[in-house]
């Protein structure tokens, strides 16, 4: 152990600190540049074609527009009514329009539960969530076939039928993100995640 003790005389600590600092800066620089050189850079067109995520501020929404009346037509033309029910409820697929309370969805009701149905128009915090989901996942087995105008129309129809927007409201890139959803301020975000924190201090 003698050699180790001898090495750690006063000046050595300072030198070590300098070394650590230099090394850290080098590591930082390295972290910001590619290390492995694998993969390729996609073209802007590729990214645009792949990117179907619509965030709450709606900045990725494509041009287009739709009204509740147009949406009612699209709802039938595209066969939404076949699975979701002619009135938007009572079908084998999730309830889209709040029912009169007689027809209950077979799906478990999510909290906050409205009319025993997990109605997206009432539950979602943002109308962009509806646009995003209908565009990416509907109609079943024909995903990706709806045109932007059709998606805007269906969202408008469902929001109108659930009492969220007026009958003459036009939804487009600007108006859709501004729709004040009933649940907008009624839900709580999970706390910021940090490594090593318990999921909820004091529980139980």
């Amino acid at each position: 152990m003698g050699w180790r003790k001898a090495a750690w005389h006063k000046g050595a600590w300072r030198k070590l600190l300098v070394l650590v600092a230099v090394f850290s800066v080098a590591q930082l620089a390295r972290a910001q540049s590619p290390k492995y050189g694998l993969g390729r850079t996609p073209t802007a067109e590729e990214v645009h074609a792949w990117d179907i995520s619509i965030g709450p501020d709606g900045k990725e929404l494509p041009p287009g527009h739709g009204t509740p009346a147009e949406g009612e037509k699209v709802f039938r033309e595209k066969g939404c009514n076949v699975c979701h029910g002619g009135t938007g409820s009572g079908g084998p697929a999730p309830t889209l329009i709040k029912s009169d309370g007689k027809k209950k969805s077979v799906y478990p009701c999510l909290v906050p539960c409205v009319d025993d149905s997990n109605v997206m128009s009432l539950h979602a915090q943002y109308a962009t969530t509806m646009w995003d989901y209908i565009n990416r996942a509907m109609p079943l087995n024909k995903q990706g076939t709806l045109k932007p105008d059709e998606v805007y129309s269906i969202v408008a129809f469902l929001l109108y039928k659930n009492g969220v927007i007026a009958q003459d409201q036009v939804l487009d890139q600007q108006t859709l993100p501004k729709v004040k959803m009933p649940n907008r301020d009624k839900v709580a975000a999970a706390p910021e995640w940090k490594h090593g924190l318990p999921r909820l201090a004091g529980y139980p």
């Binding site: 972290a31 910001q32 590619p34 290390k35 492995y36 694998l38 993969g39 390729r40 850079t41 996609p42 590729e46 990214v47 792949w50 990117d51 179907i52 995520s53 619509i54 965030g55 709450p56 501020d57 699975c83 084998p92 077979v106 799906y107 478990p108 999510l110 909290v111 906050p112 997990n118 997206m120 539950h123 979602a124 915090q125 943002y126 962009t128 969530t129 995003d132 989901y133 990416r136 996942a137 079943l140 087995n141 995903q143 649940n183 839900v187 709580a188 975000a189 999970a190 706390p191 910021e192 995640w193 940090k194 490594h195 090593g196 924190l197 318990p198 999921r199 909820l200 529980y203 139980p204």
Partner: protein, 449 residues
């Protein structure tokens, strides 16, 4: 023995004739069996490889006796079971079941929730064939050609990148055990077995690339707060994950329990978000978009709640433990020695200890951990016990490395100022203590009933 070896050597259809392993079942074989087997091998040689590759995504179990129907005790497994891909004993019947509340396949033929048979489990790893299944609001299992599959990383990054699966596999890999658990894994009084009460959790040894390596290649920009992960299945299931977690310990996995991921588990690549509720662990991963806020996708919005405390309990799993033996619908054959055994896990790290009570929760004793306790992985515990033949209630509870202990239902109710009655539903991901009641006749029952 010798003639069989000759038979196999002569056929020479594959590079890996496991001659020695054949000896186990060769004792009862006669010449007739040998001849039949050789013929079957020759006949099947042409289709053997194709057969091995054509296993359906649905994971249908093929009957090992297919090749020898009507031969009585001359039964021989077919070529696939014999050489290409081993099968379990036909005497072992352990199998998954559908969640009763929503059957799979559903009205549209989609899979939703399928439960793993925990009552039959041993060790800490769930066989891939018995891994629970949960999909993003129901979906079909896609049949993806890995050569065609791509992963795109874009959004708030310096260098958008697109990777083939082969390129991802060239990155330095890690292999780690991690559990997955669905938020819907919640015991109800009506459930009979541990498969029904707790079957939406499983644990695999995963092999993959740390997500942080790939994100560093792309260069995450200042101001990034979340990552949207998206799958390639028909509904393109997506979810938002905090960027801090994404850069911490997430994996892009391509291996599961020593082989390629199963299609039901996301072949060819999936995201693993250790300790977070199952929904975040996106299968068939095709796109990662770095963004400045929670994108509230369809899967995210379904989990929003009015209470921030519940939101916290919803995102991260456990600590949680469950006794798998003795458990509901099993039976003790009279008083005497048994080992109480089960699984424990936590979304916040490794399990530190597991305690057992055999008197309804009055006294607790430490169980033994029989497998390594790894972060965000199942650990197998056991407690040697002599049953006196009297009715009793057995329970397990665990504590994780942060010192957080699994709550009882009463403790959860007290925390939320609610009465601990039959209507109480522990908020968030339910990790409360599960009681099993052992009757004097040795039958085991759901202690919540």
């Amino acid at each position: 023995m010798y003639t069989q070896r000759v038979g196999y050597d002569k056929v020479e259809i594959s590079a890996n004739p496991p001659v020695k392993e054949r000896s186990v079942e060769s004792q009862s074989s006669g010449r007739r069996r040998f001849l039949k087997n050789s013929a079957a091998l020759i006949g099947a040689a042409a289709v053997g490889v194709r057969s091995a590759g054509a296993r359906t995504p649905a994971g249908g179990v093929e009957n090992p006796d297919t090749g020898s129907a009507g031969m009585g005790n001359m039964d021989m497994p077919d070529l696939e079971a014999l050489i290409a891909y081993g099968q379990r004993s036909p005497f072992v019947k352990s199998h998954r079941i559908s969640v009763m509340e929503r059957m799979s396949p559903d009205e549209f033929g989609m899979t939703f929730h399928v439960l793993s048979p925990l009552q039959d489990s041993v060790g800490m790893i769930t066989p891939s064939s018995l891994h629970y299944i949960s999909t993003h609001r129901g979906s079909y299992v896609p049949n993806i050609d890995p050569a065609e599959h791509r992963l795109l990383i874009h959004g708030m990054v310096d260098r958008p990148l697109i990777f083939t699966v082969d390129e991802i596999k060239r990155f330095p890999f890690v292999t780690r055990p991690h559990f997955l658990e669905c938020l819907g894994n919640r015991a109800k009084p009506s459930h009979k077995t541990v498969q029904q009460t707790h079957g939406l959790t499983s644990c695999s040894e995963w092999t993959g690339v740390p997500l942080s390596l790939l994100l560093n290649e792309a260069g995450v920009q200042e101001g990034a707060a979340f990552m949207v992960a998206e799958g390639a299945e028909t509904v393109k299931g997506a979810t938002s994950i905090p960027i801090g977690k994404a850069m911490d310990d997430c994996l892009i996995a391509y291996g599961q329990n020593g082989e390629a991921l199963r299609p039901q588990q996301g072949f060819p690549i999936r995201l693993l978000v250790p300790g977070f509720e199952g929904m975040h662990n996106v299968k068939y991963l095709r796109r990662l978009k770095i963004v400045d806020k929670d994108y509230m996708t369809y899967n995210d919005y379904g989990h929003i709640v009015p209470d921030a405390r519940v939101a916290a309990l919803t995102r991260i799993i456990g600590p949680k433990s469950i006794i798998t033996f003795p458990s509901g619908d099993q039976k003790l054959r009279g008083p005497g020695f048994y080992e109480i055994t089960g699984l424990a896990w936590s979304g916040s790290g490794a399990i530190q200890n597991v305690e057992i009570s055999t008197d309804g929760g009055q006294n607790w004793k430490l169980a033994e951990l029989r497998t390594p306790a790894r972060p965000m992985a199942h650990v197998r515990f056991a407690y040697p016990w002599t049953w006196d033949g009297k009715e009793c209630v057995i329970l397990s509870r665990c504590t994780d490395e942060l010192g957080t202990r699994q709550p009882t239902r009463a403790e959860s109710a007290k925390f939320f100022n609610k009465p601990d009655d039959a209507d109480f539903r522990p908020p968030g991901a339910d990790n409360t203590v599960m009681p099993w009641r052992i009757a004097a006749d040795g039958s085991v029952h759901n202690g919540l009933a």
